[in-house]
Amino acid sequence: MSETAGGLRIRGLRVAFDGFVAVDGVDLDVAPGDIRFLIGPNGAGKTTLVDAVTGLVKATGSALFGEQELLGREVHRIARLGVGRTFQTAALFEELTVLQNLDIAAGAGRSPWAMLRRRGAVPDDVAYTLETIGLADRRDALAGTLAHGQKQWLEIGMLLVQNARLLLLDEPVAGMSHEEREATGELLGKVAGERTVVVIEHDMDFLRRFARTVTVLHAGKVLSEGTVAQVQADPKVQEVYLGHASDEPVAQGAEA
């Protein structure tokens, strides 16, 4: 398995819960190193798609990360292939320190012998990531005491030390202040390149600033795909978001 970023290639992905089809035959290609934003109205199937790719819900179709098929594997096996995700609400180990959180995230490959011993020095990748996410001075703070934005950064940091090469982030800037959003966007720019990043987001400002490509989902299907400008100019997207009839002349789409 190569250490370079792999792309994500989804074909015919379908997720149904008791007859309700949440994701209905989605095809999606994310190039290696891309920052792809997934947008769409509530219930469009964005989070379900991420759940399916990370093994949390059962799905049919195919989801290839690099050469590896992800569907049908257990959650922790998918994680070990280099797929990492965050959740809408930060899911940290709140009673452990920042350092412990990162150290656990870095350690899935450790031998039993290493597990049974105390952590000696701070591992290099953990120290480096502490700097990257700007939490070096909060190293020994309990994760539960961090500010909201810092929690999300710690989550992203955990994906970095986990050595995830496909990062799936579910609304990483929800509830953040303007400055925190900027810092998060810059962090994403920094980590993309050798990694592939997929972001679910509602915040359009954030999307315009930091997305490289965008996919719009609607009712479990791909509605539109392209650059920010292309997607914004798409009449179908405007219809879904604004409720305009598609034949209505809309010129403002080009503004972005």
Partner: protein
């Protein structure tokens, strides 16, 4: 004081109390009671790890305590009976012509000793593998553990001819050649139990402070998140569960020479719950909380049921409810609370400054 120095000091203090103070201050009778309580404390250390750190509400530790206890008692009964002879109760009931095949290996002391620890661990491994992989947790896991304890008691009572039934295995006289009626040998048994407790505390402390210990807490608090980091939480829980079972088994094995009996009444649902109550009262997540809680509850049980027979059950229940409702961290968290109170009380203490501020604010 660094944590390491403090741990050594605590360990030293524990050794002084258990090995010097207790034998010097207590009568033989009280010392043998303490030996019994320390056996419960060993079970509690394991529960503290599995429940306090791992979030596994092990309501059926009596099963493992019993497996260890019966393995030990079977060996001691065979040794009492002598080479080639059957234990007294088998002859009494007279249903058997010869020793059952599954009793035979326990005549070997090495096999029996190993079995007291390995048998419970093996059972815990089998059960845990099935249960944790299927993501049975919380109350369902607790109920399952309880059911297992009930099943084991029913099995033991039903097989009276080979297990001693309701009576259990009683009248154990010797312990690897030492006569258990002799107070000197009872004292030796006490010292063994105290030593084992200290050793297991050291082992558990190491486990809690290791990377595994951190991961175990992470699994307790957010199992799903751990899974997304590439770990299989089932394996993490399994280790804690198996270790706790091993400790309960060893405690059961030591209980037999200390008390001279093992019976279904000592390992069923009620004792299993009492183990957990002791841990909850003492403080499940702390290292020493379970030990102190187990000893305190067992001691209170003896002291109070001597004076108020019949009301003990209610007192015990009330104690459990009070601790769970008002002191979820158990007695061990009192120290931290007092410390925080005192620290919180200090900052407003400099009274000289406050009036100045008030004056400034007023001005």
């Amino acid at each position: 004081m660094s944590p390491r120095v403090r741990a050594w000091l605590g360990f030293g203090l524990g050794a002084v109390v258990l090995f010097a103070a207790a034998p010097a201050l207590l009568t033989d009778f009280r010392l043998s009671l303490l030996a019994k309580y320390l056996c419960f404390a060993i079970v509690a250390v394991g529960i503290g790890l599995a429940w306090g750190r791992g979030g596994l509400l092990t309501l059926g530790q009596g099963v493992f305590f019993g497996l260890g206890g019966y393995a030990m008692a079977m060996h001691l009964k065979l040794a009492d009976a002598g080479e080639g002879d059957m234990p007294d109760f088998m002859q009494l009931y007279g249903q058997l012509d010869e020793l059952p095949a599954w009793w035979a290996p326990f005549a070997n002391p090495v096999f029996a000793l190993a079995a007291t620890v390995l048998l419970p661990m093996l059972v815990a491994f089998g059960l845990g593998s099935l249960v944790f992989r299927r993501r049975v947790r919380g109350a369902y896991f607790a109920i399952l553990s309880q059911a297992l304890a009930a099943a084991m008691v029913i099995l033991l009572i039903g097989q009276q001819g080979t297990t001693g039934g309701t009576n259990g295995l009683t009248d154990i006289e010797g312990f690897f050649g030492y006569d258990l009626d002799d107070p000197v040998n009872q004292r030796m048994v006490y010292f063994i139990i105290a030593g084992v407790l200290l050793a297991l505390l050291a082992l558990t402390r190491q486990l809690m402070h290791s990377r595994y210990g951190e991961l175990l807490v992470a699994v307790r608090d957010s199992e799903e998140r751990v899974r997304f980091l590439g770990y299989n939480p089932a394996n993490v829980k399994l280790v804690a569960y198996v270790v706790a079972a091993g400790m309960a088994g060893l405690a059961g094995a030591l209980f037999v020479p200390a008390v001279g009996i093992i019976s279904p009444a000592l390992i069923g649902i009620v004792p299993s719950i009492e183990f957990v109550i002791g841990v909850a009262v003492g403080g499940r997540a702390a290292l020493l909380g379970p030990v102190l809680g187990a000893v305190a509850v067992a001691w209170a049980k003896t002291a109070l049921s001597e004076r108020f027979p019949g009301t003990w059950t209610y007192l015990q229940g009330a104690m459990f409810v009070l601790v769970v409702a008002f002191l979820p961290g158990g007695l061990a968290s009192l120290w931290g609370l007092v410390k925080r109170r005192r620290e919180a009380a200090v900052p407003p203490a400099p009274p000289a400054e406050q009036p100045v501020l008030v004056k400034e604010a007023a001005a």
